[in-house]
Every structure is written in structure tokens, then in C-alpha cells.
């Protein structure tokens, strides 16, 4: 059991507030990912949980026990640092043993745990090397190994993959997911890479400027982003946004007007009728149509043919950049005029404060 509860946690450095009123309940065995742009406070939040830093307000509890002022060592957590922070003058074995020796564990038990972790992470051949004699990927495993041997109640990982090259990052990501499965331990994982977040997380916490924008499962966030920021942050390529006017349409329907001229109707009543709203549509939900058959005309600015799919960058007459991702290969070239067709069952609407508008 290891449930981590944050209640109204805030952290300020001097007058500068970095985290504001963070409320979060991390469930036992969950892999939760903090994601957000650089400088939004992800590392700071993780360090508060770790006990390496103290909040200026609020409380942190592990399994219902308040640990806000408990030293890092006594929280039973283990951390994997972005830089790995391996002790450079110690062998891999000594690195793994160090924390256990601190706890005055019996030698035999230490050796057994190291052997087990080395087997699991396939680092047994390097146990007597120094970190400086290992590759980046091997060092990363040792860093994870150092956390595993401690048998912590939860793992805290701060961008553990960011120092690996692209290929290694993908394979290590899969291994981490498998490891989480096997240990069924609580993991708090920080990244600024939304793909990492989407692939690994049980739940994602999207942070911006020290505030939680949304908490939810990856698909929750993808399908029902709570606001413009989350909509734009989750998913690649980014969601398209267009200013539209919304009005009541036929019974049980609403009409959307683009660029003052073109428009279409959608099912459901929009709570904010007769207003200016922002329409969001993911590139994968936009298709190309024959002239006059689509919802809006646009000029192709760039075509990225990836083989399995084609990313078409277009510009509308209103000057908006719209991306469409078309499955397979598609015979358009930059300079062409195309019609874009929206998928009305996958539209997102946001009010002028950026909050999602419910369509009922």
C-alpha cells in the first residue's frame, strides 16, 4: 500500500510562486505522469513528494500519514534522477549497496537484492565497473537498479529517459512499462514529452505555470481535454483551433459559422449560444474533400509524406493554419487549393476563457 495524497500544496521561492494549491491523490500501484512545458514546476513537485524540498503551504501524506516535515530518507521513497546521480567513484555494485548499507542491512540480504536487481535489469556483467565506464543506457539501468534494491513504497522518476537517444528511449520506455507491471509499485514519473506520458501513464497530470490543468487517463485527456491548453498539449500533431460563432440550430442541434460565411450544424445544444467560441479539431479527424464538398477551403502550404500517412499543412482564407493527417499517401502538392471536411462527432468547443464547453 502506498497512496500519496497532496492537499493544497504550494511552493514559493521568495516572492515567486512556483506551485499553487496542488490537490492530488496518487493511488496505490498507479503510474502517474506529470507532464507540462519546461519550467511549469514538475521537478519541484516531485522534489516536494521526495522530501528533498519543503512546501510553503499544504500537506503531503503517504498512506494517510502526514509526511510534510518527514525527512526524505524516512519516507520510504526512491528517486531516479535525470542526471542519474550515480556516485562516480563507486562501482555499480557499491552504488546499489550504498543505500542498503546506510540502513544497516545484513550483507547477505544486500547481495541477494543486488543480484536480483542485476538480473532483472541485465546489468550483472557491469557490476564491478564504475559509472564512467558505462554507456548512457547502462547508467540509466543502474540508476533504476539503485531505486529497485531499496524496495521503496513508491518510485519517483524525473525525466529518466531524457539523456538517451531516440531509439534507446523508446525501448527503455517499454521496459519501464514492463517493470511497472512486474513490480506493481506506485510510480510518479515526470516528463515534458507528451508521447511518453500517453504511452506510460495510468493517469496524467497536466501542469502549467504551477497549477494542475487536468488530471485523467491518457484517452480521457485526448478525448475530453478540459481546456485549450490541454487540448493543444496532448496529441501530435497539435489540435487545430478555429474561431467560430455558435447559434441555435434545428431542434436539438447547434449551428457553427466559420469565417462569417461557411458553417455547419452539429448534434446537441451548446450551452453558450450566440457567442464567439473556439473550435478544436484534431488533424486526424480532418479529411480532404473535393472542391465545394468540404466545410472550409484552404490552400496547401506544405505536404509531409510519411508513407503510412500524410500530414497536410494548409492555410484557410482567414489566415488560420490547419493541419490534416490523411491515412496513406495523398496526391496533393503545396499551392493546391483543397476543401477541408470536419468530423462533427469529434469536435471540441472552448469558451473565451479557454474552458471546454459541454455539448448536450
Amino acid at each position: 500500500m502506498s497512496q500519496i495524497t497532496l492537499t493544497g500544496v504550494s511552493r514559493a521561492f521568495g516572492k515567486v510562486g512556483v506551485l499553487h494549491d496542488i490537490n492530488l491523490n496518487i493511488l496505490d500501484g498507479e503510474l502517474i505522469v506529470f507532464v507540462g512545458p519546461s519550467g511549469c514546476g514538475k521537478s519541484t513537485l516531485l522534489r516536494l513528494i521526495a522530501g528533498l524540498d519543503r512546501p510553503t503551504g499544504g500537506a503531503i501524506a503517504i498512506d494517510g500519514k502526514d509526511v510534510t516535515t518527514v525527512p526524505a530518507a524516512d519516507r520510504g521513497l526512491a528517486m531516479v534522477f535525470q542526471s542519474y546521480a550515480l556516485y562516480p567513484h563507486m562501482s555499480v555494485r557499491q552504488n546499489l549497496a550504498f543505500g542498503l548499507e546506510n540502513a544497516r542491512m545484513a550483507r547477505a540480504e544486500i547481495d541477494a537484492r543486488i543480484a536480483e536487481a542485476a538480473r532483472m535489469l541485465e546489468i550483472a556483467p557491469y557490476l564491478d565497473r564504475r559509472p564512467g565506464q558505462l554507456s548512457g543506457g547502462q547508467r540509466q539501468r543502474v540508476a533504476i537498479g539503485r531505486a529497485i534494491v531499496r524496495n521503496p513504497t513508491a518510485f519517483l522518476l524525473d525525466e529518466p529517459l531524457s539523456n538517451l537517444d531516440a531509439e534507446l528511449r523508446i525501448s527503455t520506455r517499454a521496459e519501464l512499462a514492463a517493470l511497472h507491471e512486474r513490480l506493481s509499485a506506485t510510480m510518479v514519473y515526470v516528463t515534458h514529452d507528451q508521447i511518453e506520458a500517453m504511452t506510460l501513464a495510468d493517469r496524467i497530470v497536466v501542469l502549467r505555470a504551477g497549477r494542475i490543468e487536468q488530471i485523467g487517463t491518457p484517452l480521457d485527456l485526448y478525448n475530453h481535454p478540459a481546456n485549450l491548453f490541454v487540448a493543444g498539449f496532448i496529441g501530435a500533431p497539435r489540435m487545430n483551433f478555429l474561431p467560430v460563432k455558435v447559434a441555435a440550430g434545428g431542434t436539438g442541434r447547434s449551428s457553427l459559422t466559420l469565417d462569417g460565411s461557411a458553417g455547419f450544424e452539429i448534434d446537441g445544444n451548446v450551452s453558450a449560444v450566440n457567442g464567439d467560441v473556439t473550435l478544436g479539431q484534431r488533424p486526424h479527424h480532418i479529411s480532404l474533400a473535393d472542391a465545394g464538398k468540404g466545410d472550409i477551403a484552404a490552400r496547401v502550404a506544405l505536404v509531409e509524406a510519411l508513407g503510412s500517412e500524410t500530414i497536410v499543412h494548409t492555410k484557410t482564407s482567414g489566415g488560420q493554419t490547419m493541419l490534416a493527417v490523411v491515412a496513406g499517401q495523398c496526391p496533393v502538392a503545396s499551392g493546391d487549393t483543397v476543401d477541408l471536411k470536419f468530423d462533427t462527432s469529434h469536435l471540441h468547443l472552448f469558451d473565451d476563457t479557454g474552458q471546454r464547453i459541454a455539448v448536450s
Binding site: A73, F81, S83, G99, Q133
Partner: protein, 341 residues
């Protein structure tokens, strides 16, 4: 605002650099001509020659002369007037019935100086490394006005050794500052520079005070090069502070500590100026060190014997060469290890 400041700085820089550029251009064409004539090796010689000349006149030549002097006898100043005696001067330095008992030696002062210097080196180096380490550790903490404290500890390094000696003489002499304070506090004044052990202690303390800032700075640089992450990892690992020091700080600081150790050794062997001003080698011969012995035998005493002084200085030089080689070896090893990381 920053842009404006940058603009001003750039313009000021350009104004300062303009004459430099003009001068450089002035030399440009003659240098090019020279290079065409002599090739790039010739250019190297051209640039190195002035330095080599200075080194030759002021270092290499005196060194050779010194070796020759050490093989001559008499009080005459010019080498041509001196008589060749071979290794006699060295023999004189080493003629003892027991090296441990200076009184049994012909050159008893030499051996007193040797043993004094050895004791000084051991005690002063230990003291210096310890104080430098503690100072660096304290200065590395997040304390208020940290740069002020750094400056305070570094300041004595900038003083001339003579000034250092004088300052401390004013403090330690019989009617000096320290005794005034002892008296005010109700204690009995001590004649710090006249009592043997106190004088020796004072020599160590003063030389440590004068140089510790420099070595503390080297160690501080080493401490700051240790990644903060390691300390956080140790904190997560539940490491007690003392163990952090022994198992993380000290091993990672070891290269710097070794450099400091050897540098202080080299300087301690050569101890002279500040102690000479402070105690003049006294009381008696209790703070007489090798360099002072060489100086007095060579230049200052009634029975001037330049040959003997040269022989002693060559012996001391040999010790320093060994220490310097060790230091260079360490430096090279550190460099390689740095590359490996």
C-alpha cells in the same frame, strides 16, 4: 535597459580595441614577411626566443653557476677567484657522528635547520590541509555574505610575506596586541616569540594564516564541482552527514586535496620570509629553517661560505624536484581521469 547597457559595452569595447587592432596591423606585414622567409618553425623560434633568453639568464645560468659554486671553497665572490674542492662541501654538510644529533655534526646549524624544517613541514602541512578543508567546507555552505567571507580568507594571500611577518610581530611581541588582550582578560602575558614552543607554534600559525585562503579556494572549487544531485541521491539513500562526508565528499575531493597537499609541501620546505621577519630564526635556533640557513651562510654571516650555501641549496633543490615531479604526475593523472568521466 539591458540592451542599452550591452550597446554601450560593445561600443566601449570597440573603442578600447581600436588602437589594439591598429597596432596589430602595424606588425602584420613585417611578421608575414618573416614567416615567408623563415617558415613556421622559424616563427616559433622568433616568438619563443625572448622568453628563453629570460629563462636562460635568470634561471638556467644561475642554476649551473650554483652547481659550480657548490664545488668550490673560500670566501671569494667571483667564481674565477675560487678554489675547486670537489665534493668537500657536501662532505662537510654530511660529516656527523649521528645525523639525529646536530651537535655531533661539523655543520650543526645545517642539521638543526633540517630537523626544524622537517618538523615544520609535517605540522604545518597537516595544519594547512585541515584548516583549508574546514574553511572550504564552511565557505561552501549557503551562509550569508558568502563572498565577503571568501574575500576575508583570501585577503592575507595578497599580502607581502614581510607585511605578514610584521603584522604578527606587532600582535605577538611582548607588549603586543595579544598580550594586551590576555592582560585585559586577567591572564598573565606570555612572551610568545621568545618561548621556544610558542615561537615555533607562532611560525606555523602565521604561515597557515597567510596562505590558507589560496588552498581553501582550490578545495572550494573542487567542492563546487561535485554535482548537487549526488548529495540529493545520498539524502534519498538515508545517508548520515558524517558518512556523506567520508564516502562522497572526501573521495570526490581527493584529487584537489592531493594537489593542495603537494603544493603546501613544496612551499613549507621553502619556508622563509614571513618567519624570518617574525622571529628571525629565534629564540636561539628554534625557528631556524633551511632557507634561512642557506641565506645566512651564503650572504649574512661573518664566516661567509658561498660554496657551502650552494651545496645546501642544491640538496634542498633535489628534494623540491622530487616533490614537483610527484605533483606533475598527480596533475597528469587527474587530467586523464577527468577525460575518462
Amino acid at each position: 535597459m539591458a540592451d542599452v547597457r550591452n550597446g554601450i559595452a560593445t561600443r566601449a569595447g570597440a573603442m578600447i580595441l581600436a588602437p589594439v587592432g591598429w597596432l596589430a596591423n602595424l606588425f602584420d606585414s613585417p611578421l608575414r614577411m618573416l614567416q615567408r622567409r623563415t617558415g613556421s618553425n622559424g616563427m616559433a623560434v622568433f616568438f619563443l626566443a625572448p622568453n628563453m633568453l629570460v629563462f636562460g639568464i635568470f634561471v638556467l645560468f644561475p642554476l649551473v653557476i650554483n652547481i659550480l659554486y657548490s664545488m668550490t671553497g673560500g670566501g671569494a665572490l667571483f667564481l674565477g677567484d675560487r678554489t675547486f674542492v670537489g665534493a668537500d662541501q657536501y662532505g662537510r654538510l654530511f660529516s656527523c657522528s649521528s645525523y639525529l644529533d646536530p651537535k655531533s655534526c661539523i655543520e650543526d646549524l645545517f642539521w638543526i635547520a633540517v630537523w626544524n624544517t622537517l618538523a615544520f613541514v609535517v605540522l604545518q602541512v597537516a595544519m594547512m590541509v585541515a584548516v583549508a578543508l574546514v574553511t572550504a567546507l564552511v565557505l561552501n555552505r549557503e551562509l550569508r555574505a558568502r563572498s565577503f567571507w571568501r574575500a576575508v580568507f583570501f585577503f592575507p594571500v595578497l599580502l607581502s610575506p614581510v607585511v605578514v611577518g610584521l603584522i604578527w610581530r606587532w600582535i605577538l611581541q611582548r607588549q603586543g596586541l595579544l598580550n594586551l588582550m590576555v592582560f585585559e582578560a586577567g591572564g598573565t602575558p606570555v612572551n610568545w616569540l621568545v618561548e621556544r614552543n610558542w615561537a615555533f607554534t607562532a611560525a606555523i600559525m602565521v604561515s597557515v594564516w597567510a596562505h590558507v585562503g589560496f588552498y581553501a579556494l582550490i578545495l572550494l572549487a573542487g567542492l563546487q564541482a561535485i554535482p548537487k544531485d549526488l548529495y540529493e541521491a545520498a539524502e534519498m539513500d538515508g545517508t548520515r552527514p558524517l558518512r556523506v562526508f567520508w564516502r562522497i565528499t572526501l573521495p570526490l575531493l581527493a584529487p584537489n586535496l592531493l594537489v593542495v597537499l603537494v603544493l603546501t609541501l613544496i612551499r613549507a620546505v621553502q619556508i622563509f620570509d614571513e618567519v624570518y621577519v617574525l622571529t628571525g630564526g629565534g629564540p636561539g635556533t628554534s625557528t631556524l629553517f633551511l632557507t634561512q640557513y642557506i641565506y645566512e651562510v651564503g650572504f649574512a654571516s661573518m664566516l661567509r661560505n658561498p660554496g657551502l650555501a650552494s651545496a645546501a641549496s642544491i640538496l634542498m633543490g633535489a628534494v623540491l624536484v622530487v616533490l614537483t615531479l610527484i605533483q606533475l604526475g598527480i596533475a597528469r593523472r587527474n587530467e586523464q581521469r577527468g577525460k575518462m568521466r
